[in-house]
Symmetry: C2
């Protein structure tokens, strides 16, 4: 029985932008409209819904716009946390508008509300000493060096395989969703909530009082897990562009994981079976959700959302 | 007695950015911190608070960043409604963080929540036939003509007094705050809410179902009035950089209006006593609030907020 059960859904990059697209509003909004049809199915089935989403390409574009604005018009560029807040505003707007439109079309009068969300990370998180998350475009050595002159605080890493330099930022572990109480209030009152977009705006709490933004990017699935756990959701669904977690992914002996206990998956994760940049954080988020008391975590392909919920698709992680 | 009374406060441009500043995050956040001290006084006095704010210089900068991003990096620029959503995200983030910090410092454990807010306007609003609201910077004729080539849909007007061309957009009349129910739910649950930033994201409802963004800017005081009226606020306070509404402002015989009935002020407004670009919409918003059943509308200077609430400063419009 689904009535009243709360599901947190984490939308992957393909829910907003598809391969080969340049990132125009029209492209992104069309993708969000398609995504909304899958999400609306869940609402129609009676579930309460909280939606979170990535913002990788979007914050990349935002940072470049700030850089270009500085160079062309001398407009001061914003720090990364503030750019993240910008993407939450615009992506949330797209989702709340497209999903409400879709629901109205189906005769369901529910509002979708975007809450600008900060996520608390630990000031002493080792990630701050080791920026590792690439953001934005690839640069030549010359472009990189010029950027370094304008923004001396930027850290770059060379990607030899793809031939170029990319800016890297810290990716600290999310601890607490600052706005969790308001999100819960809205969910309980029957609203669908978009929250913690792009992994949330990363903040630290200095002396336990002064919240301050930091230049970092939080993994959106790990932040989504915190959101799901803190809200007491029964299920946490990570949607992406593959139909589940695989062992030996991309190799001849690849094997999809159907249903698995969190303890078993934790063992496989610790053995290094999942690549850190892509499936790794999703698997870790799924494991953590069960360890934090969740009933089921699912990793599935976006268009299979309904099948995944009904147990016919995706990787299902259970206690 | 103020316990539980709801006040909607509309912050003017000077709450975010001050004359001569270039618009860096540090400048804006410092201003927001100062503003938060005035707002926190109201919370400490026991009032429930909903905050709205302008975004003129911010959306101007955002539009220029999108233009620069297109020229330098070929990143598709977003329409104006989407740029407005971006500014709601970042300005809301600043207010929610600074005000919660200030409240915590005073021992008050209240959360400040930013709701991405759409405002419904009429598709047939005459403003769409007559774009009049200037946005962004001044251009030379050559720059303007080049922009026209890139964005043929842009409309420009010459400002002969200040010597240059500016983009103008429609400024339709706000009708309904789309997210009003969620805002009300949050306020009733004890949250302080930031909503309808920059006058809200302007949308029209096509055939009463399909909500769609439009390229326009809504006056933030008129939108704030709709917010205050729809939430059933008892008071609506418009904060700006002058200490009230004046007759013959700037002339030797200027006279500040202290306390006035809405019907009297309506007469003065209709006679054209208040300039359309600045005090006009504030006076109109104040009049409308009383006509819509509000108890008191106040126009006051930001730093006089507490005095204004207690009747010692500002222009007070009453039934």
């Amino acid at each position: 029985m689904s009535e009243g059960e709360l599901i947190v859904v984490a939308l992957g990059g393909n829910a907003l932008l598809r391969r080969g697209e340049k990132g125009s509003f029209e492209e992104q909004y069309n993708n969000v409209r398609r995504t909304s049809r899958f999400l609306a199915d869940l609402v129609e089935m009676g579930y309460k819904l909280v939606i979170t989403h990535g913002n990788g390409p979007q914050i990349g574009a935002t940072l470049l716009r700030h850089d270009a604005g500085k160079r062309m018009y001398d407009i001061p560029p914003f720090p990364m946390d503030v750019c993240g807040a910008e993407t939450q505003g615009f992506i949330g707007y797209m989702i709340q508008q497209a999903l409400r439109n879709e629901l109205k079309r189906r005769g369901i009068d529910k509002y979708v509300i975007t809450v600008v969300t900060r996520v608390i990370v630990d000031e002493d998180d080792p990630a701050f000493q080791n920026p590792s998350k690439p953001v934005g475009k690839f640069y030549t050595k010359e472009e990189m060096e010029e950027l370094k002159r304008i923004h001396p605080e930027y850290v770059f890493k060379e990607d030899k395989a793809r031939g170029g330099w990319r800016r890297v930022v810290p990716s600290p572990d999310p601890k607490i969703i600052a706005e969790r109480h308001a999100i819960k209030t809205l969910v309980e009152a029957g609203f669908i909530v978009v929250a913690s977009g792009g992994g949330g705006i990363p903040i630290v709490e200095v002396d336990g009082v002064e919240a301050r933004g930091v230049e970092a990017v939080i993994d959106k699935d790990l932040a989504g897990e915190r959101l799901a756990a803190l809200l007491g959701a029964s299920r946490f669904i990570i949607l992406t562009d593959v139909d589940g977690a695989y062992l030996n992914y991309g190799k001849p002996n690849q094997k999809k994981i159907g249903r698995i206990k969190a303890s078993e998956l934790r063992k496989l994760y610790d053995e290094g079976h999942f690549p850190p940049g892509s499936m790794g954080p999703k698997v870790l988020a799924a494991i953590r959700f069960i360890e934090d008391g969740g009933k089921e975590a699912i990793i599935a392909e976006l268009s299979q959302l309904k099948d995944a919920i009904e147990g016919r698709a995706g990787t299902h992680v259970v206690p």
